[in-house]
Amino acid sequence: MTTLEPVFKRPVSLKEVQTHFCPGCQHGTVHRMVAEALDHFGVQQQTIGVASVGCSVFLYNYFDIDVVEAPHGRAPAVATGVKRVHKDKVVFTYQGDGDLAAIGISEIIHAANRGEAFTALFINNTTYGMTGGQMAPTTLPGQRTQTSPEGRNVALDGHPIRMSELMAGLDGVSLSARVAVNNPKNLLQANKIIKKAFDIQISRKGFAFVEVLATCPTNWGLDPLAANERVGEEMIPYFPLQVFKDVTAL
């Protein structure tokens, strides 16, 4: 007689609720990976999340953990305050590209540079999702958005910021990597890197930064499949998937 064991189930760190995310949005996928990492290390009960402003502000509705909601861009400063008080707890931030790379670029760079011992998740979908698809600091050259109707003109609007490369240049950073969740191979790598980012915090090796390339089908004006294809065809060529810095590999 064989006993049936579940091989795939909801992580305990995620609540049994439906998300408000649009069809084809990859926030849900990344939420699940973060939850799996918390389960993997058995730290759900010791974790404090810091939510940012944008579609991901509601992470406290989905994660079954304590959460502080930060003002737009300020999650790394809020997480600094939380982690300095709760030095033995696991703290992570979860920010979009407008939040982290535009209004909050100062807070992320300085928190990273101080080597604050939290894990930073950065979701790059090349647009402001919540506000309706305006140009983000990571919007690709030529990409049409609500505020770049003729396409991003780098001569006027500047260039997309490659955050992971920037972060890797800071001495306070222990891990900086860019991943994607657009196909099974990339998904497995993303899972591995996100776990590593938490491992670095838990084993007291400092600050870890993971950029996840993700879709925003609604604001890209694409269906979920076409949006997923765009990640491989347009985003990855500009934002290469790579581990840019990993002090544990030295």
């Binding site: 974790t47 304590d66 909601e69 003002p71 400063a77 600094t80």
Partner: protein, 356 residues
């Protein structure tokens, strides 16, 4: 008995905060308050605390938000232009019902202005400052001793009501040295911080510290809750200093540094046989409305003195008896613009002559 010390106001406020258990300080250098972060950078590490020189005032207030949300006693300090930058965070802290101590060693403005003592940030402090309609609890020390005492009081009140507390001082109160006694902290009974994030640690419910309320009626209910809190502190936490009001022909009102100068002028006036009383608001929010109403049942003449062009005077006018007359004397701050006791004595004399 604690030993008497001769120290600066800025040191006293930092010392008081540490005495009351503040172990986290986040700040950014700006004159005339930099003695506070300097003191904290020396003293907090010795006590197992954390000092962070933040990359900006914006970051500092958000570090305070995070530390307060975690249940710790924490503070930041700055001076006017830096306090402007903190307004976003203060609004979020008020909305999230977080305690925390904010010290504003006010300098003159607007813009880069100057570094002289000013009271031009009165409106910003007591009327909300940031967006969304909220209040801070605002304390106005007028001595080095009160800088120490108010740091302790501010942290206690802030924890009791779950609202950010601001100490509104200025370059004179912060920079002058006076003798003071660092009384040991006696912890009052305070509500448990059962709202703080700690990690669930076996709890069934999550702790969520937030200011976003999107459900039907949720935000209105939240704002009514904040409103009730403000009404409650109006009943319970008003503080003021009153002297010689019983037979006064003129009530002088001023806070902070203006009150210190006014006290000398009042002494001169009494010496000259004039009946002058003092009503000094210590809490600027909640404002001592009743004290003004009661004091002006008898004495119908009030002189408000401020180091600005007239801000607190508006609250005085709203508070006094209907038939009381409120005069104002003030000068906008800047180098060489601090009024002298003689100057204020002259103003007092003018007001009294107006009566006669």
């Amino acid at each position: 008995m604690s030993k008497r010390l001769f120290i600066k106001g800025n040191e006293a406020v930092a010392m008081g905060a540490i005495e009351a258990g503040c172990r986290y300080y986040f700040g950014y250098p700006i004159t005339p308050q930099s003695d506070i972060p300097e003191y904290m950078s020396k003293e907090l590490p010795k006590r197992g605390g954390d000092f962070i020189q933040a990359e900006s005032e914006v970051a500092a207030i958000n570090m305070l938000l995070g530390a307060s949300a975690s249940g710790a006693r924490a503070m930041t300090s700055s001076s006017s232009p830096g306090i402007s930058l903190k307004q976003e965070g203060l609004s979020y802290m008020a909305g999230s019902e977080l305690p925390g101590l904010i010290v504003n060693i006010v300098r003159s403005g607007p813009g880069l202005g100057g570094i002289d003592a000013s009271q031009a940030d009165y409106f910003q402090s007591v009327k909300g400052g940031g967006h969304g309609g909220y209040h801070l609890l605002v304390l106005a020390p007028d001595s080095v001793q009160e800088m120490y005492d108010h740091a302790i009081l501010g942290l206690d009140l802030s924890d009791r009501y779950r609202m950010p507390t601001m100490i509104l001082a200025d370059a004179v109160i912060g920079q002058m040295k006076e003798s003071m006694i660092p009384h040991p902290y006696q912890a009052p009974e305070l509500p448990e911080k059962d709202w703080a994030v700690t990690g669930k640690q076996g709890r069934s419910e999550q702790k969520i510290v937030k200011s976003l309320f999107l459900g039907d009626g949720e935000l209105e209910a939240h704002n009514w809750k904040l409103h009730r809190k403000y009404e409650l502190i109006k009943q319970r936490e008003v503080r003021f200093e009153a002297d010689g009001l019983e037979d006064a022909e003129l009530i002088v009102t001023a806070f902070g540094t203006a009150a210190r100068i006014a006290k000398t002028a009042i002494a001169m006036a009494r010496e000259a046989g004039l009946k002058v009383g003092l009503l000094r608001p210590i809490t600027l929010y909640p404002f001592p409305e009743k004290a003004f109403l009661e004091a002006t049942q008898g004495c119908k003449r009030v002189l408000t003195i401020e180091l600005n062009n007239g801000q607190m005077v508006q609250d005085v006018k709203l508070s006094v008896a209907r038939d009381a007359e409120v005069a104002f004397y003030g000068r906008p701050a800047g180098a060489g613009s601090l009024p002298t006791p003689e100057e204020l004595f002259e103003q007092i004399r003018k007001q009294i002559r107006g009566v006669a």
